[in-house]
Amino acid sequence: MTGASRFTILVVLVNLLLISGCATQKPPLYRWGEYEQLVYEMYSEPGKADPGTQVAKLSEDVGRTQAEGQRVPPGVYAHLGYMHYIQGNQGAAMSAFATEKALFPESAVFVDAILKRLKGKKQ
């Protein structure tokens, strides 16, 4: 190993130390999976994230998150419910929105308004 390459490695290590000094090293609160990537794709490349694809990916995400004993992030169940709704699956949509409300009571006002609409459409 030359002196120059040894020096380069040292500088890289110092850089890493500086970076990690400012960052907070904590495990994430939630397991994120595909949620944000799907939101990105549905607006920027709509064909890539049709409702069927989104339902499949989010359902897989939610299952894995539960199996690993982690927490599903805010909004994921509501987004899944919205995708079920677009597909015409009212029952699954209502169930997903209800789960969002059970996990995060902060969503109650909005979810209740959506559930009321879905019930109206079901009859």
Binding site: V11, L29, Q37, E106
Partner: protein, 222 residues
Amino acid sequence: MMRRNPPIFFALLSVLVFGFTGCATSNPPDYGSYRSHMPRSVLVLPPTNDSIEVNASYVYLSTITRPLAEAGYYVFPVAVVDNYMKENGLPTPNEMNTVPLDKLRKVFGADAVLYIHIEDWGQKYQVISSTTIVKARAKLVDVRTGAVLWEGTAQAAQGSGDGGGGLLGSMIAAVVDQVVHTATDRVHPLSRMANHGMILNTHNGLLLGPYNTDYATDVRGR
């Protein structure tokens, strides 16, 4: 030294640049009003957009939920909210951003609203390279009183010439960059970085919210 060992020179320079920019040293903001109106839930409206990139608002919107939720807040589902507003006669972000607070509170039950304005977005082309830029201002507003709880700037930039390879190398890199990447592909990860830095930095970022496990030990504004 610079002529014989350019990599060492650049490595040293990177340490210096980081040393100057990595940890901010300006005065922290006053968190008093924020603390006394501590929200549990945040409604993010699709950003208004000053840049010429039409997709900017929604690409940005797709990178805001994670840092906000990791900070400890309930974040309303951004795409569901967007669709709901569109179905209720508000087709664009500009119109959504004019809805009065009491109406937002009644419809969504949100404690606070995060307003975002994109100032600069996308690729700037120079002769042999390009720079990708994201710059946005954000404002967290208490939905009951209208008080501004917090303001921040999300900012990130990246040059295509990073990595060297001499003049010819840069020219080839710049051409390949333009062919392979659309502007959106490049700005998306930058937008993620910019939001993370704005929200989760302990100097002037958001206070930790009720869902964060360190909520009780965040002393800012107490």
